[in-house]
């Protein structure tokens, strides 16, 4: 095997891990970074997106459109959750974790009761290609591209749109933003819905690659937590670099000792990072810049 195929294999595994970390974490990171709320029902929003996507695909909707529907439905559920529960707990951040954990129990078990223990999936589209001796799934490359698109899209949304300006103002000084006539409650609702929608998007994108079970959210949630903890409160300066660093750790450990070693490596990395950089990568970068 020559150096080129080896390098491609390493790059492919890195990209795969990077896409998984970015896509599973970005919804959680948006909600945490903007609102300081950790949404423990994040995995269940991912599950919701995946289920809706697959149901739509079974009903004959083309897959890209089905993924979009999945993300939108998750966003709608997220908005509903914000209005009914999260809104009342903004002054008690620890209680939001507990409440969203309750939601996670309700959603997981509710899905189990209503839809049974498993759901027929859809096949992975696009087939595969070979480089050297190994064959690779083309869809994984699409996922990798989507991760980049999502980060770019979030950057554009928060920097170049009216909603982005209002959201950033609300995050910096909420009462000042309110005094300037911004409906901060609406901004919080929309931000939460955005985070839930991104979770649904991740679920929809990964739905064709995995088995659909009510507990599928836990597959994502550990990686999402770790990325957000390492990244800190900023989505662009935190989540993206954290995902890049952790993807190296994960890809290396996984190709060395297997899937579980990858996760253990991630956990070790996070415990060491918080000991050295308690406010995450973005806290470190922002302090350097200031």
């Amino acid at each position: 095997m020559d150096v080129g195929t080896l390098a491609f294999s390493a790059l492919y595994q890195f990209g795969d891990a990077f896409a998984f970390l970015v896509l599973s974490a970005c919804g959680l990171a948006v909600i945490f970074g903007m609102m300081g709320v950790i949404n423990l029902a994040h995995g269940e929003f991912i599950m919701c997106g995946a289920y809706v996507t697959v149901s739509a695909a079974h009903a004959g909707v083309p897959l890209p459109l089905a993924i979009l529907i999945g993300a939108l439905v998750s966003a709608a559920v997220g908005a509903l959750v914000e209005i009914l529960i999260i809104r009342h707990l903004y002054d008690r951040p620890l209680d939001t974790i507990v409440a969203t954990w309750g939601l996670s129990l309700i959603f997981t078990q509710g899905t189990l009761i209503l839809l049974g223990s498993t759901m027929a999936g859809v096949g992975t589209p696009f087939g595969s290609f070979t480089v050297g001796d190994y064959s690779y799934s083309l869809y994984r490359l699409v996922l990798c591209g989507m991760a980049v698109v999502v980060i770019a899209g979030l950057y554009a949304l928060f920097n170049w749109t009216r909603f982005g300006v209002m959201a950033r103002a609300t995050i910096q000084v909420p009462h000042m933003a309110a005094a300037l006539g911004i409906d901060t409650r609406l901004v919080y609702s929309l931000t939460f819905a955005l985070g839930a929608g991104l979770a649904g998007l991740a679920g929809g994108l990964y739905a064709p690659t995995m088995t659909l079970v009510p507990t599928m959210g836990t597959t994502f949630i550990m990686e999402a937590f770790v990325t957000v903890v390492v990244g800190g409160a900023d989505v662009f300066l935190g989540t993206a670099p954290a995902a890049a660093v952790l993807a190296v750790v994960k890809a290396t450990m996984t190709s060395w000792y297997g899937q579980l070693a990858g996760q253990i490596g991630l956990l070790m990395a996070v415990i060491i990072v918080i000991r050295v950089l308690p406010r995450g990568i973005s806290g470190f970068l922002l302090r350097e810049r200031a």
Binding site: F32, G36, I38, L40, I85, H88, L89, R92, P93, L94, D95, I97, V98, A99, W101, G102, L103, S104, L105, I106, T108, Q109, G110, L112, I113, T215, T218, I221, M222, F225, V226, V228, V229, L260, Q263, I264, L267, V270, I271, I272, I274, R275, V276, P278
Partner: protein
């Protein structure tokens, strides 16, 4: 003698609900009732009641860490699982003779406490606060579950003990008391009931003394305002770490008793759902007091058991709803709110506890 009476005077104080003769007479009546209970019941039901009791240690530990210390630990079931597996591995390898099961109990709890000390060092000395503490401890628990779930192969064994992956480990000997004229094996029955009840009373009273001691007062000061406590000269990291380790040891004790009770431990006892349940018991009961945690845990477990007859999925949905409603409507806990309501007419002086 004077020091001793001061020590016992700490059984009541500003950090615990319930004081004065009224409370302690009530306590003795409940205790007498609990002691007499096996006389009016059969061995099987009493054995089931022990199952409730085994969980209470973990709940009391969480009350100490979360309710008194203000640190959100979602990793209680990790220590539960570690101690459970450690007990299984030790007793399968070394047997139950000469009271070794109790040595194994101590070792298993110590292993869980050691693991907590190591993890807690990185967390508290890295000054991980509130939200992050919760998600890091939860991540540790989930990874531990996945690790144990993949140990199905024959290469995963420690001595004679196969870890058995997702199916879990079984057939470890239950706790055994060495006794002249034949060991007493504590199967889930009346004898185990009295042993666990005795441990429970000791732990409950011991924790009451702990939280009313200077240590407990500092702990509550840290919960109320970490910066202020630090400015007053306390190294809050050491207090938090100490609390975390004690809470973990109690969770470990639960793990050992559970494993010995059912002679069985599986990775799913550390999973996402299992990790949520202690949070439900403690939050619904009233995390900021030991007594309400105790009563709340027993109540919620009894409700859960009653619902499980109709299907455990429904019971878990009800648990989730209960948790959300408690956080929204009675943030300090349902039993806590009730206790305050009952206590009000009886107490002559209202101390300044908030």
């Amino acid at each position: 003698m004077n020091a001793l009476s001061r020590f016992f005077a700490r059984l009541e104080g500003p950090q615990t609900l319930g004081r004065g003769p009224g409370f302690w007479i009530g306590f003795l009546i409940v205790l007498a009732g609990a002691c007499a209970y096996p006389l009016f019941s059969d061995g099987y039901t009493v054995g089931n009641t022990v199952y409730f009791f085994t969980w209470i240690f973990m709940a009391l530990g969480l009350s100490l860490i979360w309710g008194y210390g203000g640190a959100l630990s979602f990793g209680q079931t990790a220590f539960f699982g570690i101690a459970g597996y450690a007990y299984g591995i030790l007793t399968i390898n070394f047997g139950a003779a000469y009271g070794f099961t109790f040595v194994a109990l101590l070792f298993a709890v110590a292993i869980a406490a050691l693991f907590a000390a190591l993890l807690g060092y990185f967390l508290f000395f890295g000054r991980i606060s509130g939200v992050f503490l919760g998600i890091v401890t939860l991540s540790v628990t989930l990874v531990l579950e996945r690790f144990m779930a993949q140990t199905a192969g024959p290469e995963w064994k420690i001595g004679a003990a196969r870890l058995n992956g997702f199916n879990g480990m079984s057939n470890m000997p239950p706790l055994t008391v060495p006794w002249p004229g034949g060991d007493i094996v504590l199967f889930p029955d009346v004898q185990l009931y009295y042993v666990v009840l005795g441990m429970l009373v000791l732990v409950y009273l011991g924790l009451r003394i702990l939280v009313n001691s200077p240590f407990g007062n500092v702990l509550v000061a840290i919960r109320e305002n970490p910066e202020r406590a630090e400015m007053l000269g306390y190294d809050i990291r050491k207090y938090q770490l100490g609390t975390f380790v004690i809470g973990a040891a109690l969770a470990g004790l639960s793990g050992v008793l559970y494993t010995s009770w059912g002679q069985y431990i599986t990775p799913s006892s550390m999973g996402m759902t299992a990790a949520a349940l202690p949070i439900v018991w403690v939050a619904v009961g009233g995390r900021s007091d030991l007594t309400t945690t105790l009563v709340g845990t027993i109540t919620v477990l009894a409700v859960f058991q009653a619902l499980t007859i109709h299907g455990s999925q429904y019971a878990l949905v009800v648990m989730g709803i209960m948790l959300v409603l408690t956080v929204l409507l009675a943030p300090r806990g349902l039993i806590y709110a009730l206790a305050r309501l009952i206590a009000r007419p009886f107490s002559k002086r209202q101390p300044g506890d908030a």
